[in-house]
Amino acid sequence: MKGSLKADEMVGLYRTMCRIRAFETKVQELFAANLIPGFVHLSIGEEAVAAGISSVLKPDDYITSTHRGHGHVLAKGADPRRMMAELFGKRTGYCKGKGGSMHIADFSVGVLGANGVVAGGFPIAVGAGLSCKLRGTDQVVVCYFGDGASNRGPVHEAMNMASIWKLPILFACENNQYASTTAMSYSTSVGRIALRAPGYSMPGVTVDGNDVLAVREAAQQAVARARAGQGPTLLEALTYRWRGHFEGDPQRYRTKEEVEEAKEKDPILRLAATLRKKKLLSRELEERIQREIQEEIEGAVRFAQESPYPEPEEALEDLYAGDVAQAAKGGLS
């Protein structure tokens, strides 16, 4: 299986992971420099999950994302310039500055939205899956979520509904072992989230989430199953969050050593090593990839910085699609 991956696909996975890493490393810097308002949650170290999964999706497939969603969104094909502009709160951002880091969406590439509410994407994913089924398309939906999210009620309702209706959904758990300050081993009544799948008569698979090839392979099976009308799959990818829960997190709940140890399992270095062994990643290619990415990210930052802030009154736009927009503006509000 892994062997059957084409060379350019493998390099593509590498490039995707590097783009996510570069984007978020830049965000980290910009946030520290007070250039990004609000709160930022980074997925550095977890890039293999989004990269592996998105590599088997089509442009019109859907994803629902989380508060830690830059990677999901980038991997699904969103434009880093409009993402960065959104993080800056600029009018050229995906949400015209109304959303920020926790609320990025790009409906044109199937991103149904990040979400500020943990597990908020589950019911939406079920609805999107039901919609695919009712419209008779072969689209699939990926519902990203964390280990912490797995204990919220909507997860249960969504998995049950997806199963009884055989909806084309991949429930993708990024198990990074913590939910904010809380270790999964404390909060969760089962050692592996995937062990809950039998309760919904769906396949439950746990993979090494730092091995992008393993993630991709498992996702491929799940997506094939979904497209074939056989229903949802629960895929759990074991990984680790390198940064704090949010930028600025004092992280008293874990040791530096634990973090350093986890960093040794860097999914990017790991794939790089594999590629080099297979002679797929020459020094020149690698330099070119990094250079292109740096240019792209710097371009995104430039775009964001040069874009204007929205005018205050724009806060009253985009509430309603229908003709009440006027009424709402004219009203007391």
Binding site: G99, S131, L134, Y320, G331
Partner: protein, 328 residues
């Protein structure tokens, strides 16, 4: 226009039937819809007429409402039946944090054409978990539209419009009005959201109301008429958008106002209306706006208790008398 009499149940089913025939993206989803055509028969005939488009669910209101949203975001027009308005409590995140905000949070990228429908109201000894009227929560939630009509004509027209509307519409119908009959034209028609309807013209006082209280208000107005008082009854039908022009017109004409709903007075829709009337039209008032609504307790089970808690025609009458008394 040729007129027939339909019950609210029939008017609602007819509206859905028409919209489902016109638009294949409309579907109905909720608990216990298929076997009995909904708990009030409001979907009777539809499961057979539109196979696969009336969908029974597990008991999972959170996910039902959220699934409606997910479907709305991806090309469908869901009509979500929440079974009882009291159970919106289990789907508040999906309604108030997700459906209401998604278009705005995402900068207007997407439309959210969904209806969240639920029967509300008391009067059947259904007690604290099956009797509430919670519309005020949703009026206070930017991004939602809120509708609560009473008569079959309005129900049919507003169900059709709500389905065609591109924003999330929370649609309440009082559970005691399903059997209520009224004229409904055979011809197709729509009623815009945000348009009140003057159900009775008068000059001495205005009763501003909606949902089942319309019936109580009409009864009270008739009683007042027999006493020589000419009350006008304004049926809001939509609570958001709110037809402020119609309200202002009634206030400026009658100078005396009662606002009546079945929900708890404290913090109810009547507070918003009264506050706004005094804010914008204080000089027009010959007496304070008087609010009618339920007392601030949950709904008790026992009939004498429940009757005491919820307002009826007598409550509107009492409020009207109070409003008429005052001479500036």
């Amino acid at each position: 226009m040729s007129l027939r009499e339909l019950t609210n149940t029939e008017a609602m089913a007819e509206a859905l039937k028409e919209e489902m025939s016109l638009d294949p993206s409309v579907f109905i989803v909720g608990e216990d819809l298929v076997a009995h055509g909904g708990i009030f028969g409001q979907f009777r005939g539809l499961p057979e007429a539109f196979p696969g488009r009336v969908i029974d669910t597990p008991i999972s209101e959170t996910c039902i409402a959220g699934a409606g949203l997910g479907a709305a975001l991806t090309g469908m027009r869901p009509f979500v039946d929440l079974h009882f308005a009291d159970f919106v409590t289990t789907a508040m995140d999906e309604i108030a944090n997700q459906a209401a905000k998604i278009r705005y949070m995402f900068g207007g990228q997407v439309k959210v054409p969904m209806v969240i429908w639920a029967p509300d109201g008391a009067g059947l000894s259904a007690a604290a978990h099956h009797s509430q009227s919670l519309e005020a929560w949703f009026v206070h939630t930017p991004g939602l539209k809120v509708v609560s009509p009473c008569l079959p004509y309005d129900v049919k027209g507003l169900i059709k419009t709500a389905i065609r509307d591109d924003d999330p519409v929370v649609f309440f119908m009082h559970k005691k009005i399903f059997g209520h009959r009224g004229p409904v034209p055979e011809e197709e028609y729509l009623i815009p959201l945000g348009q009140a309807d003057l159900k009775r013209e008068g000059s001495d006082l205005a009763i501003i109301t909606y949902s089942i209280m319309l019936l109580h208000a009409m009864e009270a107005a008739q009683e007042l008429a027999s006493e020589g008082v000419n009350a006008e009854v304004l049926d809001l039908r939509s609570l958001w958008p709110l037809d402020w022009e119609a309200i202002a017109k009634s206030v400026s004409k009658t100078h005396r106002v009662v606002v009546a709903h079945e929900a708890c007075i404290t913090g109810g829709m009547g507070a918003e209306i009264a506050a706004r009337i005094q804010e914008e039209l204080l000089d027009e008032l010959d007496a304070p706006v008087v609010r009618v609504g339920a007392r601030r307790v949950p709904h008790p089970f026992s009939p004498p208790l429940e009757r005491f808690v919820i307002p009826g025609p007598h409550s509107v009458l009492e409020a009207a008398r109070k409003v008429l008394e005052k001479q500036f």
